[in-house]
């Protein structure tokens, strides 16, 4: 497979210069590196600018409701573990509207990869605060600045013992592609929070702002050390780390249920289900 195999003809509706382009390229590169065919991949999204991404790649796509990508992805993966399931979602979609699903799908640990396009703002609704907008940031509906403190999605994921927690940067497309490959290869729920400038509505967290702060984690960081991982996840300000922050090998949903030992439920021959003895239970 090469990049051209994943080319979609759907015209792109993002603003010129949007950080989403870097993520789109990274996903395509990762799919090539993973050596999967378009029909083996399922991209699931909710609503928002990030959620349009699946249309711009040739592979199976379920573009559902705002905040609801994770349960759809989990249901699809449980039904057909053969699919490589990747969710492309945003900070509002995943951490706001879908916050409950975020928490419980980390617990559920179905083998899906979640890429959060985190631009720290609501783009599609034109510039309101998202759960990751820095406190004090002024918007049209937060004229005195955002009152709530920003959510730390990586700290939350580590607290929930997520098996794979990483941070990427949309401008570092090759680096991000490798993170996506690692995430997909991880058995279980994997999270990549991708810092992504919104060139239209986020005047603070710009390309320049990120580029001055971002550094790549090297071998000196041990992602299996939960305490250290938590410190790295919380590092935000003058310096912001990207890379694999935390990982563990806790069993995935299908490992716990032994699903890999049986065929996908979608391949069951339904007409051969033996229902003859069912009534014995009701004598």
């Amino acid at each position: 497979m090469n990049i051209a195999d994943f080319k979609s003809d759907d015209p792109i509706a993002w603003c010129p210069g949007c950080g989403n382009f870097g993520i789109l390229n990274a996903v395509k590169k990762a799919l090539v590196l993973l050596d999967v065919k378009p029909n083996q991949v399922l991209l699931v999204s909710g609503i928002g600018q990030a959620a349009k991404l699946p249309h711009y790649i040739k592979c199976n796509c379920f573009n559902g409701l705002h905040g609801r990508a994770l349960p759809v992805a989990a249901g699809a993966k449980i039904a057909n573990p053969d699919l490589t399931v990747i969710v492309t979602t945003g900070d509002g979609d995943c951490y706001g509207e879908g916050g409950n699903h975020f928490i419980h799908n980390i617990r559920r640990n179905v083998d899906i990869t979640v890429i959060v396009h985190d631009n720290q703002i609501y783009g599609l609704t034109k510039g309101q605060a998202s759960p990751t907008t820095d406190a004090g940031y002024i918007t049209k509906v937060q004229p005195y600045g955002v009152v709530a403190d920003a959510l730390g999605p990586l700290e939350l994921a580590i607290a929930l013992n997520a098996g794979f927690v990483a941070r990427g940067y949309s401008r570092e497309s090759d680096y991000l592609a490798n993170l996506i490959v690692e995430a997909v290869n991880h058995k279980g729920f994997s999270l990549i929070d991708v810092l992504q400038p919104c060139v239209t509505f986020n005047k603070k967290n710009t390309y320049q702002w990120y580029s001055e702060r971002i550094y790549k984690l090297d071998n000196s960081h041990d992602p299996s050390d939960k305490k250290k991982a938590y410190e790295k996840a919380a590092e935000w300000g003058e310096r912001i780390p990207v890379g694999i922050i935390y990982r563990n090998n806790r069993p995935s949903f299908d490992q716990r249920l032994g699903l890999s030992a049986r065929k996908p439920i979608i391949d069951e021959d339904l007409s051969s289900i033996d229902i003859s003895s069912l009534m014995n239970e009701y004598v």
């Binding site: 509706a13 989990a74 699809a76 993966k77 979608i266 069912l278 009701y282």
Partner: protein
């Protein structure tokens, strides 16, 4: 000799009324009686007062009576609470040694249930079996039937448990023989009862298992929870089913949609409040044309309402639920047998038309037991309507939302065809990509809504009717009122009353109803709600106004006696 009697077993939550109730149902069925049993329970785990009422007769039973002939009072409060529901000639069984003197009521008969349980079973846990034994004596049933029922119920817990229960039951029976000198409540026998005991939720589970439902997700909510337990039971037994408890009903329906999109026959169940959370997902299923089957086991609302009681007030809600316009089918089973057949049928309809299908039941149907002859497993058909590689090749490029002559687009399973499948909650092109084109919009709306409603209206379940030709008065109901209408109609002299039962309420079977109601002199809807929702629906869909509606919205089922009383003034 009695034509029929009703036995009410009452006590605090946690005392095991359901267990003793179902064991005694099993005893009665083995002894050759038909039974109908309903449960009245409070929203609490311990304490309060619940009851399990069993109607016993030599003929088929479909509904409860309002009062009872025998009351088994398992706690101190029950004699006072239920004295008003006990027939003047009835008997009240009460443990005076445990709970004191009790009421001064001539119907009271003292049975030392706890002492006999401890002396014969070794623990107070066996009170219920003592009661079962005593009841067997009171109804002149052979104690052997009690032994058989106890074996069937407790057999999996080991011989010793069975033995202790039998010893306790024998003690109850012997106590009756030696101490009871009152009337024996013999009931006339007739045709043999069916060999099975089943409630509505059991039947839905079996319908889903038989239909090949392989993915199920829900959030626990009374009175739907036993469907989830049933599905998990069959998962454990080795059927190809995966049951996943969701974090909320929003997740449940979205997981079901995801699994169905991926190719699994999928279902969720809930009650009204949970269904309210699913409504957004219902609209998603409508827009994405993803088949799903959802059960709404209704309970009294608004909001939390009466969590453990019954009502039929979600009719309008289910018909209208979801933002925007899209096709759906809604079934309303009246019995366990119908719950079974409509459930497997729902999966076929959902997949054939790529729509959400709703099954509307209520706590009364969900929790009520009847003896049944069996379920019609032979009729079960599994028709998937899934497009194969060969099917899609005829078009060249695969388009999930292709406009076709049949009006139904080809639904292929991701990864099982060589092409890819795009699905979108936004308005979309035939390819499944987002569009804002007005012409495409019009054609998509017509495909999803007009065309599918038209196709669905050709597959409607014909309403069931009885005695329409001769009746002065025709009753009309949906769902769980079937049984009470059936019995009442059969019992009124000179065939004065007929009835129509709607098994499907959406699309509304308008032409059938117009035909059936055409010559009726008096038309009355029978509904478990306050708004006469069915009467309104009939008027809206057919222009026919019914004469009146008999309604009930106190959270309790419509009993035989209630409907007869209400009809007195109408005949």
């Amino acid at each position: 000799m009695n034509q029929e009697i009703s036995v009410r077993i009452a006590g605090e939550a946690g005392m095991g009324m359901q267990t003793v109730g179902t064991v005694f149902c099993s005893v009665l069925r083995r002894a050759g009686y038909h039974i109908f049993a309903n449960q009245d329970y409070m929203s609490r785990i311990r304490g309060g007062n619940n009851f399990f009422q069993i109607r016993v007769a030599g003929f088929n039973l479909y509904c409860p009576r309002v009062s009872c002939n025998i009351l088994v009072a398992l706690d101190g409060a029950s004699p006072g609470l239920h004295a008003g529901s006990l027939a003047p000639s009835g008997i009240m069984i009460f443990d005076h040694e445990k709970y004191g003197a009790g009421l001064s009521d001539s119907r009271l008969f003292e049975v030392p249930l706890h002492r006999l349980a401890v002396e014969n079973g070794g623990s107070e846990l066996f009170v219920n079996s003592v009661a079962c034994g005593f009841l067997a004596y009171l109804l002149d049933l052979k104690i052997g039937y009690v032994h058989e029922a106890l074996h069937a119920t407790f057999g999996t817990k080991g011989e010793e448990i069975v033995r202790k229960n039998i010893d306790a039951a024998n003690a109850g029976y012997s106590f009756g023989k030696s101490s009871y000198r009152g009337e024996i409540f013999r009931v006339e026998k007739g045709a043999m009862p069916g060999p099975y005991l089943m409630n509505g939720n059991d039947a839905i589970v079996l319908g889903a298992v038989a239909a090949g439902c392989t993915f199920y997700s829900a959030y626990p909510m009374t009175p739907s929870t036993s469907i989830m337990e049933g599905m998990a039971y069959y998962e454990k037994k080795g059927f190809p089913i995966i049951v996943e408890q969701a974090e909320d009903e929003i997740a449940a329906i979205n997981m079901v949609i995801g699994a169905s999109f991926a190719g699994a026959r999928s279902m969720a169940s809930t009650s009204g409040g949970g269904f309210a959370l699913m409504v957004e997902g219902l609209s998603l299923a409508g827009m994405t044309e993803t088949p799903v089957v959802i059960v709404d086991a209704q309970r009294p609302a608004p909001a939390t309402g009466f969590p453990t009681r019954t009502e039929q007030a979600d009719l309008n809600f289910l018909i209208h639920a979801g933002h925007g316009e899209f096709a759906r089918a809604i079934f309303a089973p009246g019995t366990a047998e119908e719950a079974f057949s409509l459930t497997w049928h729902s999966f076929n309809i959902a997949e054939e038309y790529q729509i959400p299908v709703l099954i509307m039941t209520d706590q009364f149907l969900a929790d009520s037991y009847r003896d049944i002859e069996g379920l019609d497993f032979k009729s079960v058909k599994i028709i998937r309507h899934i497009a194969s590689e060969k099917d899609i090749k005829q078009y060249g490029v695969y388009k999930r939302y292709r406009f076709t002559d049949s009006g139904i687009s080809p639904r292929a399973i991701p990864s099982r065809i060589s092409d890819v499948v795009y699905v979108d909650s936004d308005e979309h092109t035939e390819e499944g990509h987002i569009t804002e084109d007005a012409e495409v919009r019009i054609r998509m709306v017509e495909k999803r809504y007009h065309r599918k409603m038209e196709l669905l209206s050709r597959t409607l379940m014909k309403p069931k009717s009885f005695n329409l030709e001769n009746a002065e008065c025709v009753l009309i109901g949906y769902g769980s009122t079937y049984g009470v209408m059936k019995e009442v109609c059969a019992s009124v002299a000179d065939n004065k009353i007929g009835f129509i039962h709607l098994s499907q309420v959406w699309p509304f079977p308008s032409s059938d109803i117009v035909g059936m109601l055409g010559s009726a002199k008096k038309k009355i809807t029978v509904e478990g709600n306050a708004g006469a929702q069915l009467a309104g629906l009939i008027r809206r869909e057919t222009g026919i106004s019914v004469d009146t509606s008999i309604l009930k919205y106190d959270g309790r089922p419509i009993s035989f006696d209630y409907l007869m009383e209400k009809l007195k003034g109408e005949l």
